[in-house]
Symmetry: C2
Subunit: 250 residues, 2 copies
Amino acid sequence: MLQVVIIGSGNVAQHLIKAFLQSAHIQLVQAVARHPEQLSHLLPADQITSSFIDIKQADIYILSVTDSAIAQVSAQLPFTGRLVVHTSGSTGIEVLDNKNRRGVFYPLQTFSKNKDLDFSTVPLCLESEDVSDYTTLYTLATALSKSVYSISSKQRRALHVAAVFVNNFTNHMYFQGNKVCNEHNIPFEILQPLIQETAAKIKSLAPVQAQTGPAIRHDQQTINRHLEFITDRNQNAIYTLLTQSIQETT
Amino acid sequence: MLQVVIIGSGNVAQHLIKAFLQSAHIQLVQAVARHPEQLSHLLPADQITSSFIDIKQADIYILSVTDSAIAQVSAQLPFTGRLVVHTSGSTGIEVLDNKNRRGVFYPLQTFSKNKDLDFSTVPLCLESEDVSDYTTLYTLATALSKSVYSISSKQRRALHVAAVFVNNFTNHMYFQGNKVCNEHNIPFEILQPLIQETAAKIKSLAPVQAQTGPAIRHDQQTINRHLEFITDRNQNAIYTLLTQSIQETT
């Protein structure tokens, strides 16, 4: 049974703790948090500490803290030679202090505070400096998820950029659609089936095959009519740029 | 039982024909198509005609042709005073020739040739000039779908713009994410759970609440690192503009 200590109390840390507690192959030894009360709904008090000197022995230490705190927190750990991993998509493995064996355990998903998630479908992106550490990480990962990948720091950087496009920017497209609806007294729910089908399509079609609409059809009349209709400056700039990008690249 | 004639053989027309054939409350009298062979897998030959003079009597004539052909085709119909509707999101009701009673029957969904769709969840946006025609359209719509809306031409124009954002432009975000993956030998499937969860979130959260990522966090260090990483000109412009738009509007 793999013994795990998790350091952090944010969104990702909490989802990981829940997943660890549900696994028969993982023993969550301890959680380390500056504010233990943030985890009190998940763990008994004696399993949480705010003091680094009380950190217990484990096979893996998972640092799930803000990207900018990874270097500092990893340097403060009161031990050396153990396996320490971070969970960040946009941070290289080398940011971890090299007094310990380093690795990455990056769950590629968007985590919401109040929405439970089936962890078995979350892609886990693993990296380590040492082959035997990779085996340990792989054992941990496969205990949680069916979807496990070996991803280098450079690939992970690319993946994080790709995730910004398909998640952050897609959500902003939903925001703009919602804004248009609000301004014309149309319930946003009317767009829900279209949003869901757009995502569902991409399971079986490549994005280049799934592309529809006035831009890809080079339907300049409809494009002009839309641009006349859009008065918002940001919406106008987005419409113009994305129409051009669709026409140039797909 | 409502009697319907459909004019057109494209994607939307074919999905409508399938839905009509499945409804116990609608009698599809005839389909009119310049190329009858495009519908031969759906209907027997005697139910399809390519000649306007053979068009039969019906309660509703549904014009499901290219936007730019609506005016001309509606003018060519060899009868007057009947209910004729188009299915276009971006075309006003007044584009139909006024020798007949005019209406709109706009299914707000993305239709793929080779992917069947549950029509009962497709929002149908109705408009008519006459109250009793609205009742007829409403009877037709509720026979197909649980989701029926009264939408004016101006609202429909807004809705079509909103649909471009949440469908066409979202798909282009998937395209860009796919491109980044391809360039770094990462299987695109790794992004699928994120794409599906991004769409699923929006069922219970408003887009402004669901927004995450470096832009909304004003995490300039990550934004700069991403922009250094992105070499593609279109991707760079999109990343910059959408980051700015997220920061200004949400």
